[in-house]
Symmetry: C2
């Protein structure tokens, strides 16, 4: 039997909701999850408000195997993710001795002051494990099924590379893409019939619009390679049949 | 008194969650909302599953002034947004006579068959109003405080342009950006003091990392122009003071 492992993502940050910054982490996480056999099922973006973060986190961590957060773990007053995660888990948020020592040594080595703001980055919920940050030392952390990472894309990606080998993964959802030169209005009927005849697959139709014309990307997905092949062949035959009639 | 009007967005589509398609609508909606004086407070991305869409929609429409959805209103079997929205509102999803006539005339004018799949695009919750689609005829719709729009970016943007003049808007959240050549660890302490001294503003710090060095974009936001100016001046003075000490 295929094993299904799910995930959700919580993006924390006013700057995404105001349009000032375009998120670049959702697409990256989505691609990585698909590659390793984890189904990303939901993403939420919330503002830098503790109540909002706590409510979203508790909703997501109860429903999905893994939860990933980005944003709000830096040294400034608007970085409240560690406090919010601690509150969601009902544990204190406190200075982690090992993180403090790592940061202290890193700033000393660079001849930089270990300011009160920088010390904030050693705070995490009691009982959390580190997620290594090879870019700028200050660690992310994992508590329960929640992985808390930076919002800066280069750091998020480096942290995620450290997290992925530790994750429980499931049977990969395989996919095959069929380019279709026809719009959805042409293929909608026969495609629905193919979906019905291949219940072990998920067939998606993604409309594209360019230069006044529609075309479609048809994507067949399945955890069973044989079922995937059969459905892909049916979709290809449908497209070829329509092309022959033009 | 400033008037606060809020919004949420619901992005519907497996293709975003699988990483196949990178969302391009969230950032556009976020910018447009900020420009007209509506606070985008939450975004959710859910899969093409009716239960998920209904639950997310009911959560969001109860909490925010406006809700905007993208995706799932095309002619194929995986386009289930109209049904899900109808179910969320407890009304039937049925063929809208005016939408049907518009689509029928449009396909006739282009010499194209009005297929069963295309007829699906005339379905909407009973009592919904149209959102005009100048690109490809098939309308979006509004029911209650929910605006249902296409996922194809060109069509979404055109529909949104038609929706925005109809929306209740609030006092604009003004913003001023101060470029800061220092990382957050340097400015975190004094910036928190400035935030405390200017409670009518929201001061955000957005770390940027490039070529091995951190710098920061500091953003002051307020609905009161005078408060904005005072806080911006304080932030600029802090940055100038730090630069003078280097």
């Amino acid at each position: 039997m295929p094993e299904i492992v799910t995930a959700a993502m919580l993006v924390i940050g006013d700057e995404i909701l105001s349009g000032r910054t375009r998120d670049r982490n959702i697409g990256h996480l989505a691609e990585m999850m698909t590659a390793v056999g984890i189904d990303l099922k939901e993403v939420r973006i919330v503002s830098d408000e503790e109540e909002e973060i706590v409510a979203a986190l508790n909703a997501l961590r109860a429903r999905f195997t893994h939860v990933f957060t980005t944003g709000g773990i830096g040294p400034t007053h608007d970085d409240i993710t560690a406090d919010a995660v601690a509150r969601a888990f009902g544990v204190p948020c406190e200075v982690d001795g090992r993180a403090y020592a790592m940061l202290e040594a890193s700033y000393a080595a660079r001849g930089m002051e270990f300011t009160a703001a920088r010390k904030r980055m050693a705070r995490m919920p009691r009982g959390a494990d580190h997620i290594d940050n090879p870019v700028s030392t200050a660690p992310g952390f994992r508590i329960g099924n929640v992985h808390v990472m930076a919002g800066v894309p280069a750091i998020f990606q480096a942290m995620l590379d450290n997290v992925i080998p530790t994750l429980k993964t499931g049977t990969k959802l395989l996919s095959a893409t069929v380019h279709c030169p026809f719009g959805e209005g042409v293929i909608g009927g026969p495609l629905a019939d193919i979906q019905k005849a291949h219940p072990d697959t998920i067939i998606g139709s993604y409309p594209k619009y360019q230069d006044g014309a529609f075309w479609t990307e048809l994507v067949v997905r399945s955890r069973a390679p044989d079922a995937l092949d059969r459905a892909r062949e049916a979709v290809e035959a449908m497209v070829a049949g329509l092309a022959a009639r033009q």
